[in-house]
């Protein structure tokens, strides 16, 4: 279970004069601070998949980075199960598996070493790691290339390795930041299959995306963020019901709803 409410984060603007005209128009700019995320709330129950939608620059990545403890929020609360993410980030990190579209691998290490490194960082024993890699390797069909240096991998192989790396410690929740952006169809399918598999194991997943077909295929609930505020938070059916002209129209409607 993931519960986020009233999350806010502002960044100091070093030189307000250097901002582009478009940035200056953004209502989130107040004096020397840019309120990237102002008020975001969402909830993801066990076994649910939640899609985080929103235009570029809406604050999706910032929100997910706060959830994954990379950034410290200024206000609001976040809970994973009964762990307070803000008060006990180290405990929260053990429960989260995080993967973003831009995640890389250590090119000079083999796939297996990459995965094992994060296993060890998560204080797993060597036997545990080995058993888990064998299990994941078979499931993701990556035994053939696990012992090659990852700099020689194709995008799909890299994505599989990244996935295995993200879940090596059997996290309670999975956070994915635009996991399919920039991937080819095969690699994207690997990610989608992986999310489906997690859903079958009733592991809650939060992922941000720009692909609406992924939303229909995978999600139970949808959260829309625009200009740093939640403008829609509900089930997929409620999201669909926003408009009868398809998902794109629903998405546009959800944005307007927040403005009104």
């Amino acid at each position: 279970m993931i519960a986020i409410s009233g999350l806010a984060k502002k960044f100091r603007v070093e030189n307000p004069k250097k901002l582009s005209a478009q940035d200056k128009k953004d209502p989130r700019l107040e004096g020397r601070f840019f309120h990237s995320v102002k008020d975001v709330s969402m909830r993801c129950e066990k076994g649910q998949v939640l899609a985080l939608l929103g235009p570029n620059g809406a604050g999706k990545t910032t929100t997910l980075r706060m959830l994954s403890t990379a950034l410290q929020p200024d206000a609001g609360s976040m809970f994973i199960g009964d762990t307070d993410v803000i008060k006990d980030p180290v405990a929260a990190r053990k429960k989260i598996g995080f993967l973003s579209g831009s995640t890389g691998l250590y090119g000079r290490l083999t796939g297996r070493e990459n995965i094992a490194y994060f296993g060890r960082l998560n204080a797993m024993s060597d036997q545990e790691i080995e058993a888990r890699i064998t299990m994941l390797g078979e499931k993701l069909d990556m035994m053939s290339f696990l012992d090659r240096r990852s700099e020689t991998f194709s995008t799909g192989m890299k994505q599989k390795t990244s996935i295995a790396r993200a879940v090596i410690h059997s996290p309670e929740v999975i956070v994915l930041d635009e996991p399919t952006t920039g991937l080819d169809i095969m690699a994207a399918k690997t990610v989608i299959d992986f999310i489906k598999d997690l859903k079958a194991q009733s592991v809650p997943v939060i992922f941000s995306t720009h692909h609406l077909e992924e939303v229909t295929e995978l999600c139970d609930s949808v959260t829309v963020i625009d200009h740093g505020e939640t403008t829609f938070d509900g089930s997929l059916d409620a999201f669909k019901a926003l408009s009868n002209e398809g998902l794109h129209a629903s998405f546009m409607a959800s944005l307007k709803q927040g403005v009104a």
Binding site: A70, A91, T103, G104, G107, R108, F118
Partner: protein
């Protein structure tokens, strides 16, 4: 912490580029280059000294004795030229065109009776920009003739030998050097050794530092690392140790290879001074030199890591690091300046004080109590820099630029 260190080290060892700079360059390529240069230099010098030179004499009739001596030298061959040349320009042209290597013009007052001839001025036309040691060969002959003439002239004046010596060199300074050989050589080269060591440490640490901080940011692995349940402190220390280790190893490998090659060469060429000098520095002083390097390496590693993690990309990191070389060179160069000693304010200038201490250790004149103070203050600075690194690693502004 050791986990991060072990993994970074493994990655480092798998990187051919880093290995090349750290190991191959100092062990094989530098000595080859230096050795090659030294070899060709000595070849060129010995060739210049033995090459047969063509020369001509003008006014041979005035100085038959000198001409005879010259013709006896094997490596000089007398060429006949138009002896009616009386224009200096023409003589110059002959030398410039390579017709002869030098022309010697004996004046009409040449003779052994110095009292009557007055000072004899022999004109020598040569191209002094060329490496052919004309003058040194001539001097050998002329000095001999000169002292002979002096002796006969003094005898003619009735001056005895003792008086002659006194007249020729009225006052002599006799040096009594209280510094032993080690202190002497140490003063000359002692300043250069820390200079090499510091720069090598810095250079060796630079590439891994750029890779470990900015490189990880660029490849997108840093975010994942930050999200693992390991404290920032451990990450920083693991990375810091890797960088420091790489720097120290590079310096040691280079110094080791220089020492080994130096010993081989000095034994080959029987340069006793070098081996004696090396032997005179005790093992403890050697160890102390390396001990002093520890806080220095730590300072470098901490600064490099901080710069590297601030940079957005590998290239940017290298851009930040390059000026650091100059920042390091200046305080170390200060230690090479002869007048600057480990006294007063210089004992408190970071880097300079360590460089001076290493110099003193090599000279064998170190005040070991002062060593504690220098070592301590350097350790404190290094510790402060590491603490700053940890703080730096907790700043969102730095990590997510």
């Amino acid at each position: 912490m050791w986990l991060v260190f072990k993994k970074e080290l493994l990655e480092l060892l798998r990187d051919r580029k880093t290995l090349f700079f750290m190991v191959a360059l100092p062990i094989a390529i530098f000595p080859l280059l230096f050795g090659g240069v030294a070899y060709f230099m000595s070849q060129a010098v010995s060739e210049a000294q033995t090459k047969t030179l063509n020369f001509a004499i003008i006014g041979e009739q005035y100085g038959a004795e000198l001409a005879e001596q010259l013709s006896k030298v094997e490596s000089l061959s007398l060429q006949s030229i138009d002896s009616t040349l009386d224009n200096d320009e023409q003589k110059k042209a002959l030398v410039r065109d390579g017709e002869v290597d030098f022309i010697i013009e004996i004046p009409s007052n040449y003779g052994s009776d110095l009292i009557n001839t007055g000072q004899i001025v022999i004109k020598l036309f040569l191209n002094d920009a060329q490496l052919n040691s004309v003058q040194s060969r001539l001097n050998k002959i002329i000095n001999e003739l000169e002292s002979g003439y002096q002796r006969t002239s003094f005898a003619a004046l009735g001056v005895n030998e003792e008086q002659q010596v006194a007249l020729l060199e009225p006052i002599v300074i006799e040096k009594v050097n209280v510094a032993d050989e080690r202190e002497n050589i140490g003063e000359q080269i002692g300043g250069l050794i820390p200079y090499f060591l510091f720069i090598l440490c810095l250079q060796g640490a630079m590439l891994p530092a750029a890779d470990i901080g900015a490189g990880e940011k660029e490849r997108g692995t840093l975010e994942t690392l930050l999200l693992s349940p390991i404290s920032r402190q451990s990450i920083v220390l693991g990375k810091f140790l890797t960088i420091a280790f790489a720097g120290a190893v590079t310096a040691l490998i280079t110094v080791g290879s220089m020492a080994i090659w130096g010993i081989i060469l000095s034994q080959g060429m029987a340069i006793k001074v070098v081996s004696d000098f090396m032997a005179s520095i005790g093992l403890i002083d050697f160890l102390l030199v390396f001990l002093m390097l520890v806080p220095i390496v730590a300072m470098f590693a901490a600064v490099l890591l901080a710069l590297s993690i601030y940079a957005r990309s590998y290239k940017e990191a290298q851009g930040y690091m390059t000026p650091l070389v100059f920042v390091v060179i200046i305080p170390v160069l200060l230690a090479v300046i002869p007048g600057i000693e480990l006294k007063g304010i210089w004992a408190w200038v970071p880097l300079t004080n360590v460089a001076l201490a290493i110099k003193e250790l090599i000279k064998g004149t170190m005040d070991y109590v002062q060593l504690f103070a220098i070592f301590g203050s350097s350790v404190i600075i290094a510790g402060g820099l590491i603490a700053f690194c940890v703080y730096w690693f907790n700043k969102e502004k730095v990590l997510f630029r």
